[in-house]
């Protein structure tokens, strides 16, 4: 609670900086990550060394030693909506990839509700997201993108 409140203050300031720039800057995931201090790349992303953007990668997962006894260096409970969305997509990308293709799922529902305040629009949102994400996934070269680049592309259509 305390940590995320402080982080939300930082995030709000960060977004204040971002919002003075162009729309392209709003879609710069790396800035959100570095300025909000989010970093926990979970899952397959941890071995993704192709990530080219500089980010404060702080992971609370040490694969050799497990996770039971370790604490996160930073909490990811950031209250600002855009930061929440960015963090959520980054951590659960592999799940979202699958559920968007399926058109339904718990993680997709959560993303839709995060982005859309009104419940009635989440179905339309999911359908639109599915259609746009299909375009991204079907493009030649998708396989060659780094995990961060894929996350960034999803974030840019999700928000």
């Amino acid at each position: 609670m305390k940590n995320f409140l402080k982080k939300s203050i930082i995030a709000t300031m960060a977004l204040g900086v971002i919002s003075t720039n162009t729309l392209a800057e709003d879609r710069d995931l790396g800035q959100i990550f570095t300025e909000c201090g989010l970093g926990g790349i979970i899952g397959s992303g941890i071995s993704d060394r192709e990530t080219s953007k500089v980010m404060a990668v702080i992971t609370n997962v040490t694969w050799d030693l497990g996770t039971t006894a370790t604490t996160s260096a930073l909490t990811d409970a950031c209250s600002n909506r855009k930061v929440r969305v960015a963090n959520f997509i980054n951590q659960s990308f592999e799940k979202l990839e699958k559920e968007i293709a399926q058109g339904e799922g718990k993680y997709l529902d959560t993303l839709a509700n995060l982005v859309n305040e009104k419940k009635s629009s989440t179905v339309e949102y999911s359908q639109k997201l599915r259609s746009e994400f299909f375009t991204i996934v079907s493009k030649k070269g998708y396989d060659k993108l780094s995990r961060f680049e894929k996350v960034e592309k999803l974030y840019s259509i999700a928000i």
Binding site: M1, K2, N3, F4, L5, S8, G40, I42, G43, S44, S47, T59, V61, T62, D64, L65, G66, T67, T68, A69, T70, T71, S72, A73, T75, D76, A77, S79, R84, F88, Q91, S92, E94, K95, E97, K98, A101, Q102, G103, E104, G105, K106, Y107, D109, T110, N113, L114, K119, T122, S126, Q127, R130, F134, V137, S138, Y142, D143
Partner: protein, 606 residues
């Protein structure tokens, strides 16, 4: 003048009398369980487990609950300068104090405490759940399971993924080596704290990456208790405590946190050892002693992604399984058109395939390959109608509180082929046996004869992992494994020797009838100090779980590598459950260098 002096004496006496009463009252208050729990005060150590200096207002508040109480009361009346005012830092303390003594102009939340107000507004809690994560034998620190709290919110459309979770864990530096990790974890070399993160992070780590099951026990606390918890969380979050892997671990401190809001003891004793699962045993013990006001409202099982994957494959129809195997073993570009499949069939197949590739991306070293294959499956799935994945019911999953307690004491009568009779007693602080794994640590087995008590066997660790989940197209062997380090007394030609040995084994296992029957085979290699040689062996074994009766049998054909001398170890064990934590057992065994031994006795789990 006389009247003045009489009045002065009477006033001074009154003031003195009042002060004595206040001191007595404060002393009593400082010994109250809620106050000591708020301070995380260890009655044995006579100091708080919290080591952060800013958790205390008195200079020696860590060791002196009375001084800390007095300092807390004094600080209440101090002028408000900034957010570091004590009413902003310790709202739970003052909430409790307000019911014990008079606090002038008391408000539950000081309106000047902006950060506290904002935080309370942002963290709505409707109920608490206590979560148990199953053990993970891939990491010594995770072998005994993990527990954390989930702060449930209702009414939001975010499922439970954005519920906050509260964990307790050590601050381990990145890339810490394993030996340093174990040493510091055992000796208090780490600081730890309670931290918060959204539940989806826990779900991804435990269920999706470590393939561990999670049990959720939703707790039935009142609004008042939840409010008190919320205020206390603000006080303690981020403060440092000393971490001890054996007894001041996640399970212990999460239990202590619950003790702050519930007037019960969740930790009976943790002088040497406390396993996370013990909180769940204690919860049910408390509930079973109550007619009303049970603490546990409901239980929910969250299976790991691995469990769900294998279940998903089992639930496919025969045709779907055939088509799935074909799709995975051939090139993904091969179409499903060669099979007569409906859209629903294709959806079920592709849903499985995508989950399988996600699983392999996590598990396999060939991540690029599986990411590419996953993309092909994604593209095929996009072209089919939307449909939510089926969910499955899992039967015969043992709830944590129904499992036997962690520590084991056994008393045994032994009879050898050479007509020797003797008693023995054994103790292990942690001994568990599930359908797919076994773990025993620090087991001491002593022989009791008329003259002496002598060590029969000491087991540093004995770990077995049976990986019997398999899919027909899996290329990896999905090996089962075991490892054991023991010190055993040998009787050879009427002389006694001690043999320390280290054994490792790898093999395969198969499970049938809803995991009630297990069969395994392992190739083992052992090193022995007594003979200074290696032995190798092929072991076959079986476990049968018939509810209250369990049978275990194994046979290992051994070869001393230097002499090529053949021998064998064998045992057959029957456990009969008399009560949940009490078994009677019968065992027949034959170990290398030893005669046949029959033993029977009682096992007590506590």
């Amino acid at each position: 003048m006389k009247i003045f002096y009489i009045y002065l004496i009477l006033t001074l006496q009154f003031i003195y009398a009042t002060q004595i009463e206040s001191n007595e009252k404060l002393t009593l208050l400082s010994q109250k369980s809620t106050w000591l729990k708020l301070l995380y005060y260890d009655l044995d150590k006579k100091e708080s487990d919290v080591i952060s200096k800013d958790y205390f207002l008195a200079k020696d508040g860590q060791k002196n609950p009375l001084k800390e109480l007095k300092a807390t009361i004094e600080a209440y009346s101090e002028a408000f300068v900034d957010q570091n005012h004590s009413t902003c830092r310790f709202p739970a303390r003052y909430k409790w104090l307000s019911k014990q003594i008079e606090l002038k102009n008391y408000k539950e939340i000081n309106p000047k405490c902006k950060e506290l107000i904002e935080s309370i507004k942002e963290t709505k809690i409707d109920s608490l759940s206590l979560m148990f994560v199953s053990g993970y034998l891939g990491n010594p620190a995770s072998s005994f399971g993990h527990s954390f709290l989930k702060l449930n919110k209702k009414g939001k459309n975010l499922n439970n993924l954005f519920d906050l979770s509260i964990s307790y864990g050590a601050d381990v530096p990145k890339n810490e080596n394993i030996f340093s990790y174990i040493f510091k974890g055992l000796t208090g070399g780490y600081r730890a704290s309670f931290s918060d993160k959204y539940f989806f992070s826990q779900d991804l780590i435990y269920s999706n990456n470590e393939f561990r099951d999670i049990w959720e026990y939703e707790l039935d606390f009142s609004k008042e208790q939840i409010r008190f918890f919320q205020l206390h969380l603000w006080e303690i979050l981020g403060k440092k405590l000393q971490y001890l892997f054996l007894n001041k671990n996640c399970g212990y401190q999460i239990s202590k946190m619950l003790e702050v809001i519930e007037d019960e003891t969740f930790v009976d004793s943790a002088n040497f050892w406390f396993a996370p699962i013990e909180t769940f045993h204690k919860l049910m013990q408390i509930d079973n002693s109550r007619i009303n006001n049970k603490i546990v409202k409901s239980k929910k099982f969250h299976p790991s992604e691995e469990k769900k994957l294998y279940k998903r494959f089992q639930k496919l129809s025969k045709l779907e399984k055939k088509a799935t195997t074909y799709l995975i073993t051939k090139e993904m570009k091969e179409k499903l058109n060669r099979f007569e499949l409906t859209d629903l069939n294709k959806i079920d197949i592709l849903d499985f395939v995508m989950n399988y590739y996600n699983y392999m991306i996590t598990k396999s070293k060939e991540k690029k390959k599986y990411k590419k294959l996953k993309r092909e499956a994604l593209l095929m799935r996009f072209l089919l109608p939307t449909k939510r994945e089926s969910s499955f019911k899992f039967k015969n999953i043992s709830e944590p509180d129904k499992d036997k307690k962690a520590s084991l004491l056994s008393t045994t009568f032994n009879y050898t082929k050479e007509r020797e009779k003797y008693l023995s007693i054994a103790f292990s602080p942690y001994s568990i046996s599930n359908s797919n794994n076994e773990l025993k640590v620090l087991n001491i087995d002593a022989k009791i004869s008329k003259e002496t008590i002598s060590l029969r066997e000491f087991t540093l660790f004995d770990v077995k992992q049976f990986n019997y989940y398999s899919l027909p197209f899996e290329n990896n062997l999905n090996l089962s494994w075991q490892t054991e380090a023991t010190l055993k007394k040998l009787n050879i030609k009427d002389k006694s020797y001690y043999d320390s040995s280290l054994k490792v084994g790898f093999g395969k296992s198969w499970s049938f009838t809803n995991e009630a029957f297990l069969f395994y085979t392992m190739l083992n290699l052992s090193a022995h100090s007594y003979s200074r040689e290696f032995t190798s062996g092929i072991e076959i074994g079986t476990k049968l779980n018939l509810g209250r009766v369990q049978l275990k049998a194994n046979l290992e054909n051994l070869v001393k590598l230097s002499e090529k001398e053949l021998s064998y170890d064998a045992s057959i064990l029957t456990n009969i459950e008399i009560e949940k934590n009490k078994n009677i057992f019968f065992k027949l065994e034959k170990n290398i260098n030893e005669p046949w031994l029959f033993s029977t006795g009682l096992k007590f789990y506590f």
